[in-house]
C-alpha cells in the first residue's frame, strides 16, 4: 500500500496555512475533538447555498427539487460509506443527539405502553420493565453515558457498566454476568476518545445476540479513522458525527437496522416527520423521515457527502495505516521522555491515534499552554470522559489526536513541546 501524500492533503486544508501565537506554524493535534475541513467540503457547502438553497422535502419549485435531490444523494453516499442502505441513515444534529434518539425510543415506548397508547409494530424491544438492565462501559464519552443514566433515572431500569483493566482495555472477565437475559441494550464505544482503545466488538456482539440484547456502537472515533461496515460489525445501531470526519459542524448520523427504526416511536416531533395530522392526533412517517423533524441541515449533509468522497478517494485502509504509523511513532517518542506516562494502551494492538498522557509535576492545562505557545493545538481536561480519569486516578490528561494531515514532524513537535514544558516549569528529569 502506497503512503499518503500528506503535503498534497495539507494543501487542501486552508486553515493549516494560517499562523498562530505570533507567527508560529499550526500543528493541529486535536482532530479527536473536531477535524479540520478540506476546501472540497467548504466548496460543496458554498455551492449548495449559492445554487440550490431551499427547504428540502417542501415545495415544488425547482430549487426545492434540487435541494431535496442533493440531500438524498448525500444520504446515499454516506450510507454506502458504512455499508448501509440509505433509508437506514437518520441525520441528527450530532452524535449526541443520535444516541439520545435511541435512549428516548426506550423511554417513549415505555411511557406509551404504560398509558396504552398505540405503538409501531415491534416496539416491544423498546418497552422497559422493572428489573431490566442497560449496559455501558467505564470508558464512554459522556454522550454515551448521561443519556442512559437519565433513562435509568426515569424508569425502573438498572444501569450497569463494564470496567477497565489497568492497561486501558475493557475488563471482559465478567461479561457473562453483566450482559445477561435482563439486558435490553449494550451501548459502547468503538474507539475510546481518551484511551485510544479499539474495542473487541465481535465478542460483545456475540454475547449480546446470545441474550437477545441490542447493541449500539458509538463510532465517533472510528468512522473517521478506519473502514467501518455495519453489516460486518453485526451491531444494531451505529452513531457518529460529521465534524470529526472532515465534514461540517451540525450534522451527525444514526444508522439503525431498518426493522428496528421502523419499530421506534419518534424522539423530536414536528414538521416533516408526520403522515397525517388532525387536532385529535397524528400518525408518523416511515424512517428516516420519522426522526428528522423540522427543516433539515441540507448544506451540512452535502458537505458531509463531500467529506465522504474525499476520504473514499484516499481509501480508509490507507487512512488507518497512516494513523497507525503515527501512533506507533508517537508512543515511542513520548515513552522516551522521563516523567511522561501514557493513559491507555502503550502498544498499537487494537489502538487508534488518540494518545492521552500526563507529565509528572505538571497539570495538563499547563502542558497544553506551553504546547499552544509553540503552535501545537492539543486538548486538555477530562475529554468528556470524567469516569475514565477517575479510574486511572488522574485529574485530567493532555491528549493528542492524529489525522490524515499530520505527519512525523508533528509528532516531533509534540515531543519537543512536552520537553519544553518540563524545562519551563523546572520539572525535567
Amino acid at each position: 500500500m502506497s503512503k499518503l501524500d500528506v503535503a498534497a492533503i495539507q494543501a487542501d486544508f486552508p486553515i493549516l496555512s494560517r499562523k498562530v501565537r505570533d507567527g508560529k506554524k499550526l500543528v493541529y493535534l486535536d482532530s479527536g475533538a473536531t477535524s479540520q475541513k478540506p476546501k472540497q467540503v467548504l466548496d460543496a457547502e458554498r455551492d449548495f447555498y449559492e445554487q440550490r438553497n431551499s427547504a428540502v422535502h417542501r415545495g415544488a419549485h425547482q430549487l426545492a427539487e434540487e435541494a431535496t435531490d442533493a440531500y438524498e444523494l448525500a444520504r446515499k453516499k454516506i450510507a454506502k460509506f458504512v455499508g448501509a442502505q440509505p433509508n437506514e441513515i437518520v441525520f441528527t444534529k450530532n452524535a449526541t443527539e443520535a444516541i439520545n434518539l435511541v435512549a428516548y425510543a426506550f423511554l417513549n415506548a415505555t411511557l406509551k405502553a404504560q398509558f396504552g397508547k398505540p405503538l409501531p409494530d415491534g416496539a416491544q424491544k423498546f418497552i422497559l420493565k422493572p428489573g431490566d438492565e442497560i449496559l455501558v462501559t467505564e470508558m464512554e464519552h459522556h454522550a454515551n453515558l448521561i443519556p442512559w443514566q437519565e433513562l435509568a433515572d426515569k424508569t425502573e431500569v438498572k444501569l450497569r457498566w463494564i470496567g477497565l483493566t489497568d492497561d486501558g482495555r475493557l475488563d471482559l472477565s465478567n461479561l457473562a454476568q453483566l450482559l445477561n437475559s435482563k439486558t435490553k441494550i449494550i451501548s459502547l464505544t468503538h474507539q475510546s476518545n481518551l484511551l485510544g482503545t479499539i474495542n473487541d466488538i465481535d465478542t460483545i456482539v456475540k454475547a449480546a445476540k446470545a441474550v437477545d440484547a441490542l447493541v449500539l456502537l458509538d463510532a465517533c472515533q472510528s468512522v473517521p479513522h478506519m473502514p467501518v461496515d455495519v453489516r460486518k460489525l453485526g451491531v444494531d445501531f451505529l452513531t457518529w458525527s460529521g465534524h470529526k470526519m472532515l465534514g461540517p459542524l451540525g450534522i451527525g448520523c444514526l444508522w439503525g437496522r431498518s426493522e428496528l427504526l421502523a419499530s421506534m416511536p419518534p424522539f423530536i416531533t414536528g414538521g416533516s416527520m408526520i403522515e397525517t395530522v388532525t387536532m385529535e392526533g397524528s400518525t408518523f412517517a416511515a424512517p428516516p423521515a420519522r426522526f428528522e423533524a423540522g427543516v433539515p441541515m441540507a448544506a451540512q449533509a452535502v458537505g458531509l457527502a463531500a467529506a465522504v468522497d474525499y476520504l473514499s478517494a484516499i481509501g480508509m485502509e490507507k487512512v488507518a495505516a497512516h494513523e497507525h504509523a503515527l501512533t506507533e511513532l508517537a508512543i515511542e517518542e513520548l515513552l522516551q521522555i522521563p516523567g511522561v506516562r501514557i493513559i491507555g494502551p502503550t502498544n498499537t494492538d487494537n489502538r487508534g491515534s488518540a494518545i492521552s498522557f500526563v507529565v509528572d509535576g505538571l497539570h495538563p492545562h499547563d502542558v497544553g499552554q506551553v504546547l499552544d505557545n509553540n503552535g501545537i493545538a492539543v486538548r486538555v481536561g477530562h475529554h468528556c470522559a470524567w469516569p475514565v480519569c477517575r479510574r486511572y486516578e488522574v485529574p485530567a490528561t493532555t491528549r493528542a489526536t492524529f489525522y490524515i494531515y499530520n505527519d512525523d514532524s508533528d509528532v516531533f513537535a509534540l515531543r519537543d513541546g512536552i520537553i519544553a514544558a518540563q524545562k519551563f516549569f523546572g520539572v525535567s528529569k
Partner: protein
C-alpha cells in the same frame, strides 16, 4: 503575549509553595467549586473570628498552576478579612481578568501578577475559581 507574562516567577513560586492549605473539622461554611471543563477543584472553608465580621480561610485544591497559585494568593490577601473588605478584591480581580481595570497592588497584592492570564480566555476561570469560592462561602456563612 508570551508565556512568561502569564507564568511570572511569583506565580510559579505560589504554585510550588502554596500558602495556607489546610482544612478544619468545623467551619461556618464549606463550598466546593469545580471547573467542569478541566476538572480543577477547590474545597474552601471559612471560620468566623469571634467578635468580628472577619473569616479565616482553609482550603484544599487540585488543578493547574494558575488555579493553585491564585488560591495561594487569595489566602494571603483575604485570610482574616470580612466580606466587605474581600469583595473589593474579588471585584477587582474579576475586572482585571475582563481587562476593564488596571492591576492595583494595594488591593490584590501578588494577585497583580495574574494579569497575564487575561490574555488567555480559557484560563480566566482557573484564576477566578478560588475567589468565587471564597465569596460564595462567606456569603453562606453570613446567612447562617
Amino acid at each position: 503575549m508570551n508565556l512568561e507574562n502569564m507564568y511570572q516567577e511569583i506565580i510559579l513560586d505560589h504554585y510550588k509553595h502554596p500558602h495556607g492549605k489546610g482544612q478544619v473539622e468545623k467551619a461556618d461554611a464549606e463550598v466546593t467549586h469545580v471547573n467542569p471543563t478541566c476538572g480543577d477543584e477547590i474545597t474552601l472553608q471559612v471560620v468566623k473570628i469571634p467578635g468580628t465580621e472577619n473569616f479565616n480561610i482553609f482550603y484544599q485544591n487540585q488543578g493547574c498552576s494558575i488555579s493553585q497559585a491564585s488560591a495561594s494568593i487569595l489566602f494571603d490577601q483575604l485570610n482574616g478579612k470580612s466580606l466587605a473588605e474581600g469583595e473589593i478584591a474579588v471585584d477587582h480581580m474579576v475586572a482585571m481578568m475582563q481587562r476593564t481595570q488596571e492591576p492595583d497592588e494595594d488591593i490584590l497584592g501578588d494577585g497583580i501578577a495574574l494579569v497575564g492570564v487575561s490574555a488567555y480566555p480559557a484560563r480566566v476561570k482557573c484564576a477566578l475559581l478560588s475567589w468565587m469560592a471564597w465569596k460564595d462561602a462567606v456569603i453562606q456563612a453570613q446567612g447562617s
